[in-house]
Amino acid sequence: MSTTVQRTPAPVPAGGTHPAPVLSVRNLKASIGGQQVVEDVTFSVPATGITALLGRNGVGKTSTIKAILGLIHRDAGTVELQGQPIQALPTHRIVQRGVGYVPEDREVFAGLSVAENLRLSERDDHPRRELVESLFPDLVKRAQQAAGSLSGGQQQMVSLARALMNENRVLLVDEPTKGLAPKIVGEVADALEEAAKTVPILLVEQNLAVVRQLAAGAIVLSDGHVVHTTDSATSFLEDDTLVTRHLGVGTGPAHEGA
């Protein structure tokens, strides 16, 4: 019997695999309109805490999240949710299996009221209304207001609330603090920290102070590939060489704000 030729494994540094990860992505490739935007991405998300998905603008962080959800065309690769393959399922089935999504730019339904936005997100007979109301009391007051008339921060609360309304196995949260005032950034971060006590989160975030506050591990993308994974986002962010190389920014005081 001839020996099988070992395929060279993708260059994933230590820390890339976790015992019983909630989400495993292997060799995922995805494209938008024929243009490849995710080129062979492999990583896994541990079953607890917040894992940051980092990288420069345009490296495919949002596309990776969308590919996991089937919102863009997956060309190849596997995605497993607690060991079950989900890469062939349509988006709504993936979400029904317990993948919550907080999209970049919030994507609230502007013409619907806050209450309607939340009701739409209720997937079963046991919506966690009390949890959501205790996390975002402001939304209770504004229940009848059109979501489009809310401020960016309030819209982000609606978007987060929609994802927290159901019991999920993992949350995919894409740039939740983008374009928000510093005070609101803190509120969003606190809400995520609270949420992370009950559900693991894969977080795309540009604000490194927020990453430092929230993230346990980190996965770093560059040119559509995973170039670095770590169990300690903090130690990664303290390594100036790595940060400059992979994120293209220093970690000076300018990024300590918020």
Binding site: H92, V95, Y101, E107, G111, L120
Partner: protein
């Protein structure tokens, strides 16, 4: 004065017919991004089978008229649901193919209807009262207009209630705004697709029966001529907006009547209105802004 009033009511009546066609077109486009060229076929089949029903029941009886409306509504709904399920659904997310298949269905349907019912218009009648007129401030207003306006009003009210008060209505409103986010909340938006087609087809079927009373005949070409104006109404009102479709229907209907009466250029004026709206408000009177990337 009486002429003005008569033109106004006639225009609103025509607008009511336009609305019954345009409301479905607008919802279907808004939710699915499909310009449904087969919508006229839903209307025509509703009108033709509605008329057959009325004839069997006695065309001058109210029972026959009511039943023809019901049958027209059901026929339109059924054909529309079938169209979505058999032709549109397999082409999910392929908008150009979806539009082409509706164009093809429309051509095939007209040919089939002509084969069965012939190409000549068949003149119809309804209950005697509908053929008479009522004097309003000196204007002799045909009674069938009141029925048409009343029923279109009820359809509008029903659609608004459905969209505002039911979960599926909420899904449709959300889907018109952002379809992919609806699926990302774990909702199978395709079920809503079948639903808007069915609702649109039902309204078009009712519109077919009422249009045949408005014009006084049924013909396999009834839907085609109305569809053009319904498209114009839909664009003027704003694709995806039910309220926009309602306002634009009446606006176009009334304008067309006046322009026809005084200068015989009703159709021309409507096209000019379309151009003006497109130049000044490209998303229509009540359409949402075109999404930016």
């Amino acid at each position: 004065m009486d002429t003005i009033l008569l033109l106004l009511v006639t225009g609103i009546g025509l607008g009511a017919v336009y609305f019954l066609v345009a409301s479905g077109l607008s919802l279907i486009y808004g939710l699915m991004g499909v310009l449904n060229f087969a919508h006229g076929a839903f209307l025509t089949l509703g009108a033709l089978i509605g008329w057959e029903t009325a004839r069997v029941m006695g065309a001058d009886s109210w029972g026959g008229f009511a039943l023809s409306l019901l049958v027209g509504c059901l026929v339109g709904a059924l054909l529309a649901a079938l169209t979505e399920f058999v032709l549109i659904r397999p082409l999910y997310e392929r908008h150009i193919e979806q539009v082409l298949v509706t164009v093809g269905l429309n051509l095939a349907a007209i040919a089939l209807f002509e084969g069965i019912w012939g190409t000549d218009p068949v003149f119809i009648q309804g209950p005697t009262w509908m053929g008479m007129t009522t004097n309003i401030l000196g204007a002799q207003v045909p009674n069938h207009l009141f029925i048409t306006i009343l029923i279109a009003g009820l359809v509008l009210a029903g659609m608004v209630l459905f969209l505002k008060r039911t979960r599926y209505g909420m899904i449709i409103r959300a889907g018109v705004e952002n379809r992919s986010m609806v699926t990302a909340l774990g909702i199978d938006v395709r079920r809503a697709f079948t639903l808007v087609f069915t609702i649109g087809g039902a309204a078009a079927g009712i519109g077919g029966v009422l249009a045949s009373h408005y014009f006084g005949y049924v013909s396999p070409l009834l839907g085609g001529s109305l569809l053009i104006f319904a498209f114009i109404v839909t664009v003027i009102g704003g694709l995806g907006s039910l309220a926009g479709a309602a306002v634009a229907s009446v606006l176009v209907g009334v304008l067309q009547q006046f322009a026809n009466y005084f200068w015989s250029i009703g159709d021309f004026v409507v096209v000019i209105l379309l151009a003006v709206v497109l130049l000044t408000r490209p998303s229509g009177l009540m359409g949402r802004k075109v999404a930016t990337a």
